[in-house]
């Protein structure tokens, strides 16, 4: 999966777990928590949805790699098959 496709995957998940947020202008390089109202439980939801939808297991030590769309792209591109 390309990094751009990963962005879409992550945004689709965020759309479901943070339904009040406007996702039309999420900046890929900026930490998600700095531009969206997301807490630690929401991040656990992202991890759960990656597991459910894409069979990807993100170990706790790697949670910081989900900080921004760009870092998600770097980390997940090779883990999710297109």
């Amino acid at each position: 999966m390309t990094k751009e496709e990963v962005h879409k995957v992550v945004l689709d998940i965020i759309e479901e777990i943070a339904p009040d947020e406007d996702l039309s202008d999420v900046k890929p390089e900026v930490r998600l928590r700095d531009q969206l109202d997301l807490d630690s439980m929401d991040f656990l939801d992202i991890v759960m949805e990656l597991r459910k939808r894409h069979g990807v297991e993100v170990p706790e030590a790697d949670y910081p790699k989900l900080a921004s769309l760009d870092s998600c792209g770097e980390y997940l591109a090779d883990k999710i098959s297109a």
Partner: protein, 412 residues
């Protein structure tokens, strides 16, 4: 007479019932004899009549709160906001560490656990798919805690588990905390999300206590000879309670005064009621209120339309109020089903406007009154108008033998 700082009054009412999302519409439907029971398609067991609320949770919650929280939490939040608005209390201007939240529940966590087990079944019971939301959703204080999160309240919050006596028990707890000076404002009452749990229905069915009728609006028939059990409902009623002295100081409108109450235990059976203890409970509430049976204008019964329960309660009511010619007896479950933890607080709310309009709403759906349930002033099928209503005794009883009686009097 107690001093005004020991007298507890209702200054706000917020509710959602299957047939009304505010007191005015709920009351109109009761007085005009309009029930609203629907049909639910329940996981594993098929359809059953149920009381379903249609309030808009987005009125006071964000979509994310609804996703993360529970139905009981949504009901509680809706009712709490409505109660504060009715009481004309703006929390922004108050020290919210002096606001307490006391919410009665019959049970909590069944719905969320059933959903989570079902979700897990979709993943071959791999517990890595068990949600991290499960624990905050199922802790017993959840519905009360969700109120504090939503309204930014910093006083104490907890639920009072008292089976189907919980609505009264929540109000009693709130009143006691005000008398103790622990808080200055109590949000107290009861909520229920029980219709989201197939297990509640299946349990009643296995017990032979789940109502069936081709017309769901006729399924809940307390006191009818052919009654065949409980219609499970969701709902909530939360009251803003204050000390009379505080309410007067701020010029609050007063709906009624919590004059007396009692809770006791049967210690006789897990599910079967005990008329003798119910009598003692009602008499204890009368003693606390320094009232006689003749002082009570309306007895709002608990009767759930089970064969045994209704008979036993009628026996108890007859023993306490049989010689009281002016005391009317009614029931609200025939309209809304059994709202479980919310039942007591919702049924009281449905009767409170009688202080103003002088109408005793009837219990409906009676085609053949059970001779064992005949009471001198049982109000059946038609409202009774022109009644001087000065005091209401609201009964709620629950499994494991918990009884409650709460007496509310007309504001002076």
């Amino acid at each position: 007479m107690k001093s005004d700082d020991q007298r507890i009054v209702i200054t706000g009412i917020g509710l959602t019932a299957p047939n009304g999302n505010d007191l005015a519409s709920y009351r109109t439907n009761l007085v005009e004899g309009r029930p609203r029971i629907g049909t639910l398609d329940l996981r594993y067991m098929g359809t059953a009549p149920a009381g379903i609320c249609d309030f808009d949770p987005l009125r006071y919650q964000k979509k994310r709160e609804i996703r993360v929280g529970t139905r009981a939490g949504s009901i509680a939040i809706y009712c709490a906001h409505e109660a504060l608005a009715d009481a004309a209390v703006d929390l922004a201007g108050r020290d919210t560490s002096r606001v307490g939240v006391y919410i009665g529940t019959t049970e909590h966590g069944n719905v969320e656990t059933e959903n989570e087990v079902y979700n897990l079944s979709q993943f071959d019971y791999d517990t890595r798919f068990w949600s991290h939301h499960h624990n905050p959703r199922t802790v017993a204080n959840n519905p009360a805690g969700e109120i504090t999160l939503n309204l930014d309240i910093h006083g104490p919050h907890y639920t009072i588990g008292a089976a189907c006596a919980a609505g009264n028990a929540g109000m009693i707890q709130g009143a006691q905390m005000l008398q103790l000076g622990e808080v200055d404002l109590a949000l107290a009452g009861g909520v229920s999300e029980s219709i989201r749990s197939f297990g509640i229905f299946a349990g009643f069915r296995s017990q032979g206590a789940l109502a069936e009728h081709e017309d769901p609006n006729r399924a809940s028939r307390p006191f009818d000879r052919d009654r065949n059990g409980i219609v499970v409902s969701e709902g909530g009623a939360i009251y803003a309670l204050e000390r009379l002295s505080d309410a007067r100081r701020r010029g609050a409108r007063i709906h009624g005064e919590l004059r007396g109450w009692a809770l006791n235990s049967d210690a006789s059976d897990y599910v079967l009621p005990n008329a003798e203890r119910q009598v003692e409970c009602m008499q204890a509430a009368l003693r606390m209120a320094a009232m006689t049976p003749e002082d009570i204008s309306i007895v709002s019964t608990h009767a759930t339309a089970t064969q045994q329960g209704d008979k036993q309660e009628c026996r108890a009511v007859r023993e306490v109020f049989g010689e009281s010619p002016r005391t009317c007896v009614n029931n609200t479950k025939s309209y809304i089903g059994h709202a479980m933890g919310a039942a007591g607080s919702l049924e009281l709310a449905g009767n409170l406007p009688a202080f103003v309009d002088g109408i005793v709403h009837p219990t409906i759906n009676i085609e053949h009154l059970d001779p064992d349930c005949e009471l001198p002033n049982l109000v059946i099928n038609e409202s009774r108008d022109g009644v001087e209503v000065s005091a209401i005794l609201n009964s709620s009883f629950g499994m494991l033998g918990i009884n409650s009686a709460l007496i509310v009097t007309r504001p002076e």
